[in-house]
């Protein structure tokens, strides 16, 4: 789950990590005068609070020199649709705007902590060339990027912090400040079960102060059971339908196509989407009904798939393992009847008791097509959905 900039900065502030003086977030432009008063003397920076990078280029970060400028910017920004390279062409609605006191910048540094999958260690990624897109820098000039693995139990050691500080050319009288700041950022990462803590940029002001000018935290959903403050938070990135699916134990992600897919297992679900696409069609969703795939789960899954009005055909691909195909067939029949399915249904069953399962489907009287292989199922689904795209 991704946290917004102001949520991340609130956490930084609680850990004693320096962030700019703030007026807080506003949800309507009328609240602006209070916010700039709270932030202190201008100029101010108004920042759209959306979960996407590249906000500056998209017009989501603006400097205001006077209260009048700030009012005009706030009016435009609250309620705007912000399009960046990360949002897709539809953009994101800006509901909240953060009002911070502007900072003078003499240098920008990139600093983040990620979980490195290969080494299995939290790893600091830093560069003296901040304020850039780190992915671009990593491709073009990998030598400009420093990597430092951190012990997952002990956090950052002081000597590691000093090495980083010297490598980043932090002013001599601020090395200890930097070590403190980096240590606290690593502590945030470990305490929150984060998968990413990013400060881009971490700035050095003309007075040699170090400040986290931006903040981004992504947390690990698997750890929500021990992160009470995060567990109550609603993930703003998932759609209402995705949330509904999650609540009943289904893993569902909406896509752009028209062939609804119901599959057991995440890998096979992805493989099924790929096969539909290879057959010339376009999957409407990723859906993993889980290992159980009983009548109740299949019914819920069908209901969720059918709430997407783009869907013109449904493909069910279940590999019956421990759960036998005849049991799954009964579930599919009952679910199709319960939801009064009108759309073309293509079912591919494989695995334990597959003959019995297929016979039950044939005798059910439901209008459906069966397929012996996934490839055949995908081709039939594409034809039923109105042909290749």
């Amino acid at each position: 789950m991704k946290l917004l900039e102001y949520e991340s900065k609130d956490i930084f502030r609680a850990y004693g990590i320096p962030v700019p003086p703030t007026g807080g977030v506003i949800k309507d432009a009328g609240k602006l005068p209070n916010a700039i008063k709270k932030a202190g003397k201008g100029p101010w920076v108004l920042k759209a609070q959306v979960l996407a990078g590249g906000r500056g280029k998209g017009g989501g970060v603006k400097l205001a020199k006077t209260p009048k400028d700030a009012r005009e910017i706030a009016k435009k920004m609250v309620g705007m649709t912000l399009i960046t390279h990360q949002t897709g062409p539809e953009g994101l609605l800006v509901k909240e705007v953060l009002v911070d006191k502007a900072s003078d910048i003499s240098r920008e540094i990139y600093f983040s902590i990620v979980m490195d999958r290969k080494s299995g260690k939290p790893t600091i990624i830093a560069s003296a060339e901040g304020g850039v897109e780190i992915e671009v820098l990593a491709k073009e000039r990998p030598s400009a990027i420093l990597k430092m693995p951190v012990d997952p139990d002990r956090g950052l050691e002081a000597y590691q912090g000093r090495r980083l500080a010297y490598a980043l050319d932090i002013p001599n009288d601020r090395v200890l400040d930097f070590v403190k700041m980096a240590t606290k950022l690593v502590k945030v990462f470990l305490d929150l079960d984060a998968s990413l803590v990013e400060v881009n940029p971490l700035i050095i002001t003309p007075k040699n102060e170090l400040i986290a000018l931006d903040a981004k935290i992504v947390t690990d959903d698997n750890a929500l059971f021990r992160q009470e403050s995060l567990a109550e938070r609603r993930d703003p990135e998932i759609t209402a339908l995705e949330r509904e699916a999650k609540e009943v134990g289904l893993s569902y992600i909406a896509l752009d196509g028209n062939i609804g897919c119901m599959v057991n297992g995440a890998g096979l679900a992805m493989g099924t989407m790929d096969t539909v696409s290879l057959a010339g069609g376009s999957p409407a969703n990723f859906l993993d009904v889980g290992g159980g795939a009983n009548e109740e789960q299949v019914t819920r899954a069908l209901q969720i798939i059918l709430k997407d009005k783009k869907v013109t055909a449904v493909l069910v691909n279940i590999f019956g393992g421990i759960m036998r195909c005849d049991t799954i067939a009964k579930g599919v029949i009952a679910a199709a009847k319960k939801v009064k399915l009108k759309l073309p249904l293509i079912v591919r069953l494989e695995g334990t008791n597959v003959k019995e399962g297929k016979a039950l489907l044939r005798k059910s009287g439901l209008a459906m097509e069966q397929a012996d292989s996934l490839w055949e199922a995908a081709q039939k689904a594409v034809a039923a959905a109105g042909g290749a795209r």
Partner: protein, 300 residues
Amino acid sequence: MSILLNKKSRIVVQGITGSAGSFHSEQCLKYGKGIVAGATPGKGGKKHLGVPVFNTVHDAVSAEAVDASLIFVPPPFAADAMLEAADAGVKLIITITEGIPVLDMARVKKDIERRRALGQEIRLVGPNCPGVITPGEVKAGIMPGYIHKGGGPVGLVSRSGTLTYEAVWQLTQRGIGQSTVVGIGGDPIAGSTHTDILRLFEQDDATKAVVLIGEIGGSAEEEAADFYKRHMSKPVYAFIAGKTAPPGRRMGHAGAIIEGGSGGHADKIAALKQVGIHVVDNLSEIGETVARTISAAQTA
């Protein structure tokens, strides 16, 4: 021959008395021997499914000489279960549990690496995986046993459960048996990587070819390609799921996510093809592709 497990393996199930642990242990015992003990704190001294249950893994090791552990413990307690098995000297730990915090896995991995550096023989497979099966001999996991065919020339290594079943079934239907099938799991930090398992298959006499199943996210497949280029003589067939997955979304598996422009499908395919691994584009053609080249090799 096989890798990781054979009919001499002695397995303890951690969490044998829980609902998932109990159900799947029973299925494993029906498939073949292997499970000789269970471990559940507070249930020591009892018998479950005909095997003795111990309070600790250490007790199971000293009483039953177990050398492998199969873990069905719920996510909040799974890391502790792995550390316990490691401390008890278990050589192979297979963790089925899904949903373990990534930071817990970082801590477990650190402990295992420390033990290895001290000379302890230890290997973790999983978490979030279907387990390991050496068909015809022993099953330690949640995979359906009957879809496999024993004594065959093909080893499988995969990040996904049902996708593996699909590939195994395609092989079995064409009469091609499997040496060992290893699910390494769909989490970002895995105990064993594709590369670790490829190394074992390369050394195993019974394995003549390997099917590698990967998915988007991370760089494990790229590293496997590099290993293949440097160290492998046996043919490898690969399928990578997730060509149609949108960036930035977790596709069910915690590890299946395209982040910051890396972990994408095209890069993985390119890396595999470049070193000469046979990449199968159509999931339905894995069995056929392997069958075709194996029979061609036999007639040649």
